[in-house]
């Protein structure tokens, strides 16, 4: 229900943006921008829940609870669909720096290809309001900061849930992982050898309000478990770091710009949800969770929806999919295609 506050927040920012544009002189107005993207703080390619358009189409993952067949690892695919919709902002000294506001919206779906009917196992939805500030410094370097207030809602697939309830009537539980969050991040970019563009970032994702639970536990909620009472989560901050490098034009083109090779990594100190703690006040266990993506793409930016880029991915750590975040040492890997701007 708290998610209802977010649209009100959006409305306030729209009104603020319109007032700022209307109140500016023409020269001043042209320093403001609206509804057109700026690359102030690009999503980390390996960011597991960052807004991307990506299909990890040929992939294998460990078996998750309530899957019928015991096969593990098993064939899946993992689809991300998301974007950051630009609202408005203002440049500083040049077009490469400034501040602005975006609405990020993203969906993350995983489908199992082993059980009958190939059920969608889980879909996570996120949306919110994001502010970014970027400042360039000499020699093609830059600092940036991102503040993201959002809501995440997670949903088991209908076929998966129906079959799970039939096959595991004494164990099947549906935990309503649904929470508001504040994500703070800082980014530094610099050029390296052989026209390599490096960036490192660090941040933390925390519940809103602070110290809130990641999932519903009250009797009136849609959390259901035949295993007994569901205990609230106690951890509320997950720190993370990311490192990314793009070697521009590493594969030269005879008459064109050639192809870039990129490597993106995320390490997140994830909480391992525990829905039935013996001690309700106990903090959750944690596990460092790594995501690594290696891909190639044509140099430059796509004109319309981006450039298709083949990639390989390896993930190991806490299962990132909805209520399955109670599963440690989960591995998912595969190859796919993504759109890269």
């Amino acid at each position: 229900m708290k998610a209802k506050r977010v649209p009100t927040l959006f409305a306030h920012f729209f009104v603020l943006g319109v007032l700022l544009l209307l109140s500016s002189s023409r020269a001043e107005c042209q320093k403001w921008w609206n509804f057109e993207d700026r690359n102030y703080y690009d999503p980390l390619i390996a960011g597991v829940r960052e807004p991307h358009v990506s299909a990890l189409a040929l992939a294998w993952a460990d078996r998750m609870p309530f899957m019928v067949d015991d096969q593990s690892p098993r064939q899946v695919w993992d689809i991300d669909l998301g974007a950051e919709i630009p609202l408005f902002g203002r440049k500083f000294r040049n077009d490469l720096e400034g501040f602005g506001f975006w609405i990020p919206i993203d969906f993350h779906m995983i489908e199992d290809f082993v059980d009958d009917s190939g059920p969608i196992v889980n879909t996570d939805y996120r949306f919110g309001l994001m502010a970014k500030v970027r400042r360039t410094v000499p020699e093609d370097r830059a600092w940036a900061v991102r503040v993201f207030v959002g809501h995440e809602s997670t949903h088991l697939g209908d076929e998966f849930s129906i079959v799970g309830q039939r096959r595991f009537p004494r164990d099947f539980e549906r935990i309503n992982v649904s929470w508001e969050f504040l994500d703070l991040g800082v980014l530094y970019e610099w050029p390296g050898l052989r026209e390599s563009a490096w960036s490192v970032r660090a941040g933390a994702t925390m519940t809103l309000p602070f110290e809130d639970t990641y999932y519903s536990t009250s009797p009136g909620s849609i959390t259901q478990s035949p295993r007994g009472p569901v205990t609230e989560s106690k951890n509320w901050i997950d720190p993370y770091a990311g490192l990314e490098v793009t070697w521009e034009g590493l594969i030269p083109g005879r008459r064109s710009v050639g192809y870039d090779l990129y490597l993106s990594t995320e390490a997140r100190w994830r909480s391992v949800y525990d829905y039935h703690k013996a001690q309700a006040e106990a903090a959750e266990d944690r596990q460092v969770s790594f995501n690594v993506i290696l891909g190639i793409k044509e140099n430059g930016r796509g004109k319309v929806i981006g450039r298709a880029s083949p990639f390989v991915r390896f993930y190991n750590g806490v299962n990132p999919h909805g209520q399955f975040r109670n599963q440690k040492s989960y591995t998912e890997m595969g190859i796919g295609l993504r759109l890269v701007q």
């Binding site: 040049n94 140099n299 430059g300």
Partner: protein
């Protein structure tokens, strides 16, 4: 004092900001200064290495070409500009 050929700066501005149809002179001057700050040092260095004569027209063309490139790094955009420049050999 503008750094580059005004017509080429107007073309570069138009390409970078196709949504702006009425522009103050001050905005164009600022844009010229922005491009100078971003590209000029790298342009002069790479142009010298590539034996491209350094004069106002050539630098202006190279700034225009570099600002069309989608490379992440200034060095990459300038390299693209010089490669294109050498392939088409523009004349004033």
């Amino acid at each position: 004092m503008p750094n580059y050929n005004r017509s080429l700066i107007l073309a570069a501005y138009r390409a970078a900001h196709p949504d702006n149809l009425e522009v103050e002179a001050e905005t164009i001057t600022d844009f010229d200064a922005e491009l100078f700050e971003i590209y000029d040092a790298a342009l002069r260095e790479q142009a010298a290495e590539a034996n491209v004569p350094i004069n106002n027209f050539n630098l202006s063309m190279l700034v225009f070409f570099a600002n069309q490139s989608g490379g992440k790094l200034v060095a990459t955009r300038v390299r693209h500009a010089i490669r294109f420049f050498r392939s088409v050999r523009p004349q004033p």
